[in-house]
């Protein structure tokens, strides 16, 4: 292209470099007389945290790769344009706000895969060894310790039954419930896999309930059911109602009536967030949940800073975010302002305190993404280092949002006014270019990283890579060695057998092949968690950010919305955002910078276009062309 364009004298080789949270992109072009002849683009991983001197290595790599692609020597390079990568470093934290505590071994509420028998049995707890001395006609619940063999247990229970002892239920240490029940002359409910069975109090009234396969318990999960079972008065019933709630949804349960036993479903006092902005400050308790926090943030918008109550988890969490930023940027913590917070309600599997069978309950938690601004001077350091390395002039360009709009405007089918949503790793940015040429931009906290974290914690994966894979790729279930069922129900067959390690697993369908997801739940559950995480972060943030830049805060006044950034390449996020925007009559789609680059490279291309525009005049090339045409 450059060979065809004749005005060689005015041509300068310019490269725009966009340092993002996770990727560094470059766009190289010949610029002269307001004309831009784009030559190549490149993409590499960002080195270090965005906006710090560590970025230099990645930026140099991106520049070198772009130069290689054009085949031009580094000496030809006239100008490197850097984005003002000030704004965003984000921190993430998750705070569990409820906990379940069982005192005095009141209940066993875990869900063994295979409890035995069904029905409800109420009686006194006795150990297996004491069964021979129990009086006749007394209903008993037999508690079996570790190491007992299922044949021996069944034999002992049958013998006791023949003697006239009324064995109504059993609680086992091992995974033997079905085996024992299959060998009994009389079917009773049996709960197994109770790891701390030795802590079940003996000589107490206990109830064991097991529901038929595919059903959940009815009596012990109901307050009045418990009251009838244990003959409780109104006040006692009030006290045991948390037990009933904790057991609902289980297939099996054991409740032991002890003098002071209790299950507490406690809200952990996790402190308050102090939000300041719009000339006032507001306190909101983190344990009030994400909705209350987000509502408070809306009331003080635009947010100046956020503090957490000292000595609480939330205080420590925000201090940690600040500390991390301090480490990264070298600024004193007092100068770091948290400019946005996104709070998301989530559920985290947590081990119940005091549980006898390693019970896990899904506790409420609040995930917070905080966004911090860093100082411009750090970017200057990157620019200086780049100049030294490449031996050419380096200019720090405009705010990311503004340049991104210019880049986005090269998407075929777009026109002014245009809004963009740049969905990256750490933050979601929105910008609006109005008819009069003014650009307003906003950064909000929470993006891809938060989604990964939500997926990781809600599925209990404790494996970031697996969570990332779940986020990025569609799911499937391997049904045999020769076929899989995709999450939409379609079946795909293979002529070669699949590898054994994915057999019968829920997998992600990646370009490199199938990767097993380490969960035991069904595919639908994983899919629901993934889509909910994306909706709660990207859809919420897209609406929130657009509302901040939209004229009079009304989304209806936006013309077209272009989705940019790595997350715009996701297989479902753009659709979810477009669906959410559809009611507002907004045209929303994935950016296609210069008709070829897709949602990537908007900022890098925009930097070059802006630079060319500055040389020739105020407006970017396409605007000019549009003006000339009309």
């Amino acid at each position: 292209m450059s060979l065809v364009d004749p005005p060689v004298a005015a041509l300068a080789l310019v490269i725009g470099v966009d340092i993002g949270n996770s990727t560094t992109e470059a766009c190289i072009a010949d610029v002269g007389d307001g004309e831009v002849g784009r030559l190549a683009s490149s993409l590499t991983r960002t080195t270090g945290v965005k906006g710090t001197p560590d970025n230099t290595t990645g930026a140099v790599t991106a520049v070198r790769r772009a130069l290689e692609a054009t085949g031009r020597p580094a000496g030809d390079l006239a100008t490197v344009l850097l984005n003002e990568a000030t704004p965003v470093i984000s921190g993430l934290a998750m705070e569990t706000i409820t906990e379940t505590i069982i005192t005095e071994s009141t209940m066993i509420g875990h869900n063994p895969d295979t409890p035995g028998g069904d029905g409800l049995g109420v009686g006194m707890t006795v150990s297996l060894d004491d069964l021979t001395t129990v009086e006749e006609e007394v209903p008993v619940v037999v508690v079996v310790g570790a190491g007992a063999d299922f044949d021996d247990v069944a034999h002992a229970l049958n013998t006791a039954g023949e003697r006239g002892v009324d064995v109504v239920a059993a609680v086992l240490h091992g995974d033997d419930a079905v085996l024992v029940v299959n060998r009994l002359t009389r079917r009773i409910p049996v709960v197994d896999e109770v790891s701390a069975v030795d802590r079940v109090p003996l000589g107490m009234l206990a109830a064991v309930e097991v529901a038929a396969p595919g059903r959940t318990i009815r009596t012990l999960s109901d307050s009045y059911g418990l009251a009838s079972t244990f003959d409780l008065d109104a006040e006692q019933t009030r006290q045991v109602s948390p037990v009933a709630r904790a057991l609902s949804g289980n297939r099996s349960a054991v409740v032991v009536r002890t003098p002071a036993g209790d299950v507490t479903d406690r809200r952990i006092p996790v402190g308050t967030l102090t939000l300041s902005g719009a000339g006032r400050s507001l306190d909101v308790g983190v344990d009030e949940g994400a909705d209350a926090i987000m509502e408070a943030i809306g009331r003080v918008a635009p947010l100046d800073d956020v503090h957490g109550e000292a000595g609480t988890h939330v205080g420590g969490m925000l201090a940690k975010v600040r500390d991390t930023m301090t480490d990264v940027t070298g600024q004193p913590a007092s100068e770091i302002r948290i400019r946005d917070v996104l709070a998301v309600d989530t559920l985290v599997p947590a081990v119940v305190r005091g549980g006898l069978a390693g019970e896990v309950s899904r506790e409420n938690a609040v995930a917070l993404a905080a966004m911090v601004r860093t100082s411009r001077s750090r970017m200057q350091a990157v620019a200086d280092a780049l100049s030294d390395e490449l031996g050419c002039e380096t200019i720090i360009g405009g705010v990311e949002g503004e340049v991104a709009v210019r880049g986005a405007l090269t998407t075929p089918g777009t026109s002014v006014p245009i809004a963009i949503i740049d969905m990256g790793g750490g933050s979601t940015d929105a910008a609006l270019l109005d008819r009069d040429g003014t650009v307003s931009a906003v950064h909000v906290a929470g993006a891809g990283e938060l989604v990964t974290k939500l997926i990781d914690s809600e599925l209990g994966l404790e494996d970031r890579d697996a969570a990332e894979s779940v986020k990025r790729h569609p799911l499937a279930k391997v049904e045999s060695f020769f076929h899989i069922r995709h999450e939409d129900g379609t079946v795909q067959f293979f002529s070669d057998p699949l590898p054994p390690h994915v057999f019968a697993k829920v997998v992600t369908v990646t370009p490199e092949g199938l990767a097993a997801v380490p969960v035991r739940g069904p595919l639908e559950e994983v899919r629901r968690v993934r889509r909910e995480a994306k909706r709660r972060v990207f859809v919420v943030n897209a609406l929130r950010a657009l509302a901040q830049v939209a004229p009079q805060g009304s989304l209806r006044l936006l013309g077209s919305v272009v989705l940019l950034g790595g997350s715009a390449l996701d297989f479902e996020i753009p659709g979810m955002v477009a669906d959410a925007l559809a009611p507002y009559g907004v045209v929303c789609g994935i950016g296609n910078v210069h008709g070829t680059e897709g949602p990537r490279n908007a900022v890098a291309a925009g930097l070059v276009d802006a630079h060319a525009g500055m040389v020739a005049g105020p407006a970017p090339e396409k605007l000019q062309r549009r003006a000339a045409a009309s």
Partner: protein, 204 residues
């Protein structure tokens, strides 16, 4: 390491002092099963007779009992077959898998080495392999049975944690080789695989 000392040791751990013996009663030629949740347990030529225990003296009665218990606890059904034509674990297990209604089989050698196989896999591949026979005890056999039943039901169980002992090879290799030779002598090339009914008797 005599059988007597080992029994005494296990007797002190178990609440009841008793021994279980295994008889494998032949019920007919091994045929292909039709139940979709069925697991086949495929045994090697010398399993149960003349051998009665694994390389670490786990009684064969206990091996079968725990495998069956694991399958039963998960609501599965099992069939036991005995293979005479080969002492190659992969071949035994794969043969079992091809006869299994679900396509899932557990292959067991007399010395204890075990594999979980599926009929669509290549013979030398496997779902889960437990190559170090000296590390397999009753508890592991229970978990193997449980996983086999879950695979047969189309679930995705967590693989049985494989133990590893660096010393297992030097310590047991000679015995393993001898046991293998013994097993090899029991191969009968002219005898087709048979379905057997395991009868476990408790002897006080």
């Amino acid at each position: 390491m005599t059988a007597a000392s080992d029994l005494a040791a296990s007797g002190s751990a178990a609440p009841v002092d008793s021994v279980r013996t295994l008889a494998l009663n032949e019920v007919g030629p091994a045929e292909r099963g039709t139940r979709p949740e069925e697991v086949v347990i495929a045994l090697s030529p010398a399993f149960g007779d003349p051998f009665t225990k694994t390389i670490v003296d786990v009684p064969h009665a206990e091996v079968i009992r725990q495998l069956l218990a694991g399958i039963e606890e998960r609501g599965g059904v099992a069939r036991v077959i005995k293979v005479y034509k080969t002492a190659d674990l992969a071949a035994i297990a794969h043969h079992g898998a091809k006869l299994s209604g679900s396509g899932i089989a557990v292959g067991v050698l007399s010395r204890g080495t075990t594999v979980l196989h599926q009929r669509d896999l290549a013979r030398l591949s496997n779902l889960e392999l437990f190559p170090q026979a000296p590390l397999l005890d009753a508890e592991v056999f229970r978990m193997i049975g449980s996983n086999a039943a879950q695979y047969a039901q189309g679930q995705s169980p967590k693989p049985v944690p494989t133990r590893n002992d660096q010393m297992a090879r030097p310590r047991w290799q000679a015995k393993a080789a001898l046991l293998h030779l013994k097993e090899f002598e029991c191969i009968d090339h002219s005898r087709e695989a048979v379905e057997v009914e395991p009868v476990i008797t408790k002897v006080d």
